[in-house]
């Protein structure tokens, strides 16, 4: 990874914050609807991506159980609870 790539990532990240709060008008209508759906989908996709290896195959069982633990408590919609459940799943996987 180069410093240039990191600078570009930083520029994109702050640029998106700056644009929304100081430059662009608020998105409305259909665009608002579509954008509201993208973020959780990206997060879910990255979570899934991290469960696969290059071979392709699945990662080690403790990591799968960590994901399962976090997944089971998602209805509570608590960041801390997901973290705790994930750690618990990971520890259970290690014991098994």
């Amino acid at each position: 990874m180069s410093g240039l790539l990191l600078a570009a990532i930083a520029a994109i990240t702050y640029g998106s914050r700056l644009a929304a709060m100081a430059v662009l008008p608020r998105p409305t209508g259909r665009l608002e609807q579509i954008l509201s759906r993208v973020t959780p989908a990206i997060f879910a996709s990255i979570a899934t991506l991290s469960l696969f290896t290059d071979q392709p195959g699945l990662v080690e069982p403790p990591i799968l159980l960590a994901a399962l633990g976090a997944l089971l408590v998602t209805p509570r919609r608590s960041f801390a609870l997901c973290l705790v459940a994930g750690i618990a799943g990971y520890l259970v996987g290690g014991l098994l």
Binding site: A19, I42, A47, C82
Partner: protein, 231 residues
């Protein structure tokens, strides 16, 4: 002015649990990123990016062998949510564009949530602007300090046995939690599950293209379910 110190203390107390969680993830980020990009770039990334989701995504994609364009495209789409959050926040902030530009640095999922929560308790007007701007600044500063401290500790403790194992499990846990928090309706949660399914199919059938899965699956499931429909 007299109640400002109390309000600041109350705001810090409110954000403290979230800041602690951010510090933990900062430690895990530091421990995970250091072997991949080195300690200098790891610390610099937290200094100038200040976004856990973006930085974990960056590291995850780089570890998966993604090229720079794929990383930048994913980061750009991931940051689209800032457009939404910032637009919502704007109605509670003051008219100074410079001040909003400075406060924009602290726009995170967490600070957005705390700021909207505090602003909603005050009637629209100068008082609400003051509360919103102060809350965004204080919560943002707390989160920034926690993220930098955590990253630094993670870099220092990267060689500790056990921490790397936990760090390897942090990606799915972190992003499952983020997906759960941002999926505010059942419809969006189902779409997120659809993105996960598409990603799994891509990982199995087209492993060389897996780094693009977040972009492809995210856009596919975000489209309206029927032509001309908002659903």
């Amino acid at each position: 002015m007299a109640d400002r110190p109390v309000s600041v203390a109350r705001t810090i107390a409110t954000v403290a649990p979230a800041a602690a969680a951010i510090a933990v993830f900062g430690v895990l980020y530091g421990a995970t990123a250091r072997p991949l990009i080195g300690p200098e770039l790891t610390l610099l990334s937290s200094l100038i990016v200040f976004s856990g989701a973006t930085q974990f995504t960056m590291i995850g994609l780089l570890a998966a062998g993604a090229a720079a364009p794929a990383v930048l495209a994913t980061v750009a789409i991931l940051n689209v949510r800032h457009l939404m959050m910032g637009a919502v926040l704007r109605s509670s902030l003051g008219p100074s564009r410079l001040r909003r530009a400075l406060l924009a640095w602290f726009l995170l999922d967490e600070s957005f949530g705390f700021t909207m929560l505090a602003a909603d308790r005050v009637a629209p007007g100068p008082k609400r602007i003051d509360v919103a701007e102060r809350t965004l600044l204080i919560t943002g500063l707390c989160c920034y300090a926690a993220w930098l401290a955590g990253t630094g500790l993670g870099i220092l403790g990267a060689g500790l046995p056990g921490l790397e194992g936990v760090a390897a499990a942090v990606f799915p846990v972190l992003f499952i939690a983020l997906a759960a928090l941002t999926a505010r309706t059942g419809n969006i949660a189902i779409r997120a599950a659809g993105a996960a399914a598409i990603t799994a199919v891509i990982c199995v059938t087209l492993p060389d293209w897996r780094a693009l899965a977040p972009v492809v699956s995210g856009l596919v499931v975000a489209m309206p379910s029927r032509p001309g429909s908002d659903d």
